[in-house]
Amino acid sequence: MNIFSDLCGFMKHRKKYWMLPIILTLLAIGALVVLGGTSAVAPFIYALF
């Protein structure tokens, strides 16, 4: 998938390989969350994320 090559390119460029396990874990958890149907509507008052 493009997203993985994009992310790998980004981490290589920024030399931030420590992000890899976090991203993989999050993607795994995220898949569960998404499959679970949790709303992804932003609850923020200022759009920082």
Partner: protein
């Protein structure tokens, strides 16, 4: 073959689209104007459709590139590092934010491609210039300067919250950068929140409230010192460190730790829509004074680093026109140009410019006499014929003038008689200000006009000031300003000889006493500190608006009008004739002029949708 580039800002706030053709702006518009949802963050499908239609683009293959206004992965990196740095604080925010990223924002390339596909099929390179590069590009490339210092200040992009750079020819170099969480924009937003206004739209209100603060009060002086001693560590070069003990935005879902602010200032956070008392006005003034000091120091550093004699600015803080006026009066730079869509909406234009000049390396053409923004009139326009057909559909009687000069003379007479006029002409403005194409206009000499416009027409807070639109050649007759201010982004004092003396103890009087005291011979546009947020109107850029003001001058001797945006509180500025007619009928406006068609309120049938219409718009 023409080189077309589409710029997009989306998914945070103020989504917009802009289209460049060989470096020339074809069209630009904000999504909120079409969807009627203020600060709409959704993908700007309507705005994209509009800008592509203006250029006759039907397939993506006609475009050189699509440029999105920030780098999503870099923003994600900032999120992860911030959560890591503050852990275990921020767990709740983390659990809210991450699903959004996992579900959507990490896949933004696909998201954009999917959204564009039904609008315009085909394949095109997708670029992601940095957020502050987009701001810098939106400030420098359309400016009338060959080279300039560049200052961008906002809440936050990816990491950067402020950058200083230099632009020359078709290149931009970023020289200094201040990173999250230390942000002047977020500091101002936190103060906005504490004073009971809505973050992301109430900043303007805080700025408008500041002149009601008492500059000689010990409280104002003490709070200014408290801010600088406890909250914001300001360095000589304008860089700053925020004391994060006072701010919650890095890890929480609110702007500030209210209890700590309460302990520091001794006043509670003001609840929305409650009475505005003097302490909040004094706090607004202290915050504004600190903000101006920071911006001025940043501008001084930009001057020292670049040696340039001109400055360009963008980012949400560049909409703080009082601070801009301070930079101008400081004499640091010979000239100053500010992107009229300085907030995130302008990022769409900046991203497109960055793609054209930085990525493609295209040469830049500079017109030293005029910027490239075309008056910021870059949105949709409607012909008189369309408006007449719509009027028939609505059953709305109107008079269609053949002679526009005659129309101006008649409208000027109505204005001079105290009527409020909805003025809808040509292409809609790009950016937050109405500049005479989607405006409500009135007589600035009228002593009751500020109250009437605020309470009966705009339905907004009574303290809020109004801006004058003045013939460019007449600026010096009314204001201490020696140059044009076409985008309402400079504040300058009303001329001394036009002012009326203030009674003793004026700063200590109540807000309403001060507000309704007649301060000059143009009271509706003179703020309590004798300042005015000026729009100068150039005949070549906005001929119809210029002609109307000229007709008003012929009638009254005054070459200026009150100019406020054509909307009510919480509503985006009107876009289409339908929006304008609906707004006209719901408010106390007396006259609506759309192109050559004049609608008088007394001729109109009663509106059908008056019940509870204000609930349509969330208060800003």
């Amino acid at each position: 073959m023409a080189r077309l580039i589409l710029g997009i800002s989306a998914f945070y706030h103020d989504s917009a689209a802009a289209l460049l053709c060989d470096g020339d702006i074809v069209a630009a518009a904000q999504e909120e104007r079409f969807t009627r949802r203020k600060h709409d963050p959704s993908f700007p499908a309507n705005a994209v459709r509009h800008v592509l239609r203006e250029a006759g683009v039907t397939t993506m293959d006609q475009l050189e590139a699509v440029a999105f206004y920030d780098k999503p992965f870099l923003k994600f990196e900032r999120l992860l590092e911030t959560y890591h740095a503050f852990a275990p604080r921020g767990l709740k925010s983390f659990l809210k934010a991450i699903p959004i990223w996992i579900k959507e924002k990490l896949f933004i390339r696909k998201l954009i491609q999917d959204e564009l596909a039904p609008l315009c099929p085909g394949h095109v390179p997708l670029l992601f210039p940095e957020h502050h590069l987009s701001h810098a590009a939106s400030a420098f490339f359309p400016s009338p300067f060959e080279s300039a210092a560049i200052l961008t200040i906002d809440g936050v992009g990816e990491w950067a919250t402020t950058t200083i750079g230099v632009g020359s020819g078709n290149s931009i170099r970023i020289l200094r950068q201040l990173d999250f969480p230390h942000s002047l924009g977020l500091f101002y937003s936190a103060c906005t929140h504490y004073c009971g206004f809505k973050v992301n739209s109430g900043e303007y209100k805080l700025m408008g409230l500041a002149p009601y603060g008492d500059p000689d009060s010990p409280q104002t002086r003490e709070w200014r010192h408290l801010i600088l001693d406890e909250i914001l560590d300001l360095r000589e070069d304008g860089s700053l460190l925020l004391n994060m003990d006072y701010f919650a935005y890095a890890t929480g879902l609110t702007m500030c730790h209210n209890a700590r602010w309460e302990r520091l200032f001794g006043i509670r956070r003001r609840e929305k829509e409650t009475e505005l008392t003097q302490p909040y006005m004094n706090l607004a003034l202290a915050v504004q004074q600190v903000t101006e000091e920071v911006v001025l120091r940043m501008a001084r550093t930009a001057k020292e680093l670049t040696g340039e004699s001109r400055l360009v600015m963008a980012g949400g803080v560049a909409l703080n026109c009082v601070a801009n006026g301070r930079i101008l009066r400081s004499g640091l730079f010979e000239d100053l140009w500010i992107q009229p869509a300085a907030g995130d909406a302008g990022g769409a234009l900046g991203a497109a410019y960055a793609a054209h000049h930085v990525w493609q390396g295209e040469e830049r053409r500079v017109n030293r006499c005029r910027d490239q923004m075309k008056g910021a009139y870059l949105g949709p326009g409607y012909a008189s014929g369309e408006i007449l057909m719509a009027a028939r559909r609505w059953g709305a009687p109107c008079v269609a003038y053949d002679d526009f000069d005659r129309l101006c003379a008649d409208v000027a007479e109505s204005l001079a008689a105290g009527q409020a006029v909805g003025w809808f002409q040509g292409r809609m403005e790009y950016g937050p200000r109405a500049l005479g194409h989607r405006s409500i206009l009135a007589d600035p000499r009228n002593e009751e006009m500020q109250r009437r416009l605020n309470l009966k027409i705009k339905y907004r807070e009574g303290f809020r000031p109004f801006a004058p639109a003045v013939l460019e050649e007449d600026i010096g007759e009314y204001f201490d300003l020696d140059r044009p201010s076409p985008y309402m982004l400079l504040v300058a004092p009303v001329k001394e000889e036009r002012r009326k003396p203030l009674p003793d103890g004026f700063p200590q009087r109540s807000l309403w006493e001060r507000l309704y005291h007649i301060r000059s011979d143009i009271p509706a546009v003179t703020h309590v500190d004798f300042s005015a947020r000026i729009q100068s109107v150039n005949r070549d850029v906005s001929e119809r608006f210029w002609k109307l003001i000229r007709a008003f001058k012929d009638r009254t001797g005054f070459g200026l009008l009150v100019n406020t945006s054509f909307n009510v509180r919480g509503e985006p500025i009107v876009c289409s004739p339908e929006d304008a007619y609906r707004c006209f009928m719901r408010t106390d406006m007396d006259l609506l002029v759309m192109e050559n068609c004049v609608f008088r309120k007394e001729d109109q049938p009663p509106p059908q949708d008056l019940a509870n219409w204000q609930a349509t718009y969330e208060l800003d």
